[in-house]
């Protein structure tokens, strides 16, 4: 291995950290926005009907989700459905370690495992008003009857394509925009959050 180097990475939204913190709203109509930079993300492609897919599911601790919107979670890993033969593995473990594990499980079979941690950044939108903020620009039905914790889909928020994952009932959402679109999305969300500082207009 190479010598350990000083981590000089700058997250795509480091310059907006202060702005996002100032935009936080507390109370019954509360909503907060923070960036969770440098999460491990690994793109996985494999034939879902193959034995390899089952083997990879076992290595991850949870079977690969087979339907749009579904996720699988076990230990440090959460697997999000991206397409009929494509998944995104999010993890709290090191990217190199996750990639190595998945490559081991894939063996020589057809498929691919690629570290895409730098492709997207993560925005966390949380609070009682979080769903209302997203509904200003997301064409999907985010009502609890159609969407809930543990669901994740690709869609758009405002003009930006994101992967949208609902984490819990607060509700807390994680949005994964491509890094170069993250600035626009963060500013769009800060703007969308601003009305909740004041009382609700009847």
């Amino acid at each position: 291995m190479a010598e350990p180097t000083i981590d000089g990475r700058v997250s795509p939204l480091a310059h907006l950290e202060e702005r996002m913190r100032a935009a936080a709203v507390t109370g019954a109509r509360g909503v907060t926005l923070v960036e969770r930079p440098f999460l491990t993300m690994v793109d996985l492609r494999v034939d879902p009907a193959s034995e390899t897919a089952d083997r990879i599911g076992k290595a991850l601790g949870a079977p690969l989700p087979r339907r749009c919107g579904h996720t699988g979670a076990a230990g440090p890993h959460t697997t999000l459905w991206l397409g009929p033969d494509e998944w995104l593995v999010l993890s709290r473990a090191e990217a190199s370690q996750v990639t190595a594990e998945l490559k081991d499980a894939l063996g020589g079979d057809p498929g691919s495992v690629v570290d895409v941690s730098a492709n997207r950044t993560t925005l966390e939108l949380s609070g009682p008003a979080a769903r209302q903020v997203l509904e200003k620009g997301c064409p999907l039905d985010l009502h609890p009857r159609a969407f809930g914790p543990g669901r994740a889909v690709s869609t758009t928020v405002g003009p930006v394509a994101v992967l949208l994952w609902q984490v819990d009932d607060t509700p807390t959402y994680r949005l994964f925009p491509r890094s170069s679109f993250a600035d626009h999305l963060a500013r769009w969300l800060v703007d969308a959050m601003s009305e909740y500082h004041g009382p609700e207009v009847p």
Partner: protein, 98 residues
């Protein structure tokens, strides 16, 4: 706004998709033998029906898969959507029920 049902992701707004032109236009089996006219026919000439039309769409913001859609070009009604490996579905009432 069209509401198109992706075979994998379900109903989504038209803004999530890309249009890909007429479906079921096979690549010539012996391209070397084609005359210029036949090439032009393959490359440029497309049907333009009034009524049900099979066309390709791609779910660019979702699963990024190509699939086929049967759409009524007069009413914009989306009649059916199906995967590329499925045959064009027969419509019980071609052209809608109005």
């Amino acid at each position: 706004m069209l509401l198109i049902t992706c075979p994998w992701c379900g109903p989504r707004d038209e803004t999530e998709y890309h249009y890909g032109g007429q479906a079921h236009v096979p690549y010539p089996e012996t391209p070397a033998d084609l005359t210029d006219e036949q090439w032009a026919e393959y490359v440029f000439y497309r049907d333009n029906p009034k009524g049900p039309f099979a066309e390709r769409w791609m779910h660019g913001i979702g699963c990024r898969r190509w699939f086929n859609v049967l759409r009524d070009t007069a009413t914009h009604e989306v009649l059916a959507s199906y995967r590329l490996d499925e045959p064009r579905p027969e419509l019980p009432q071609a052209g809608g029920n109005r």
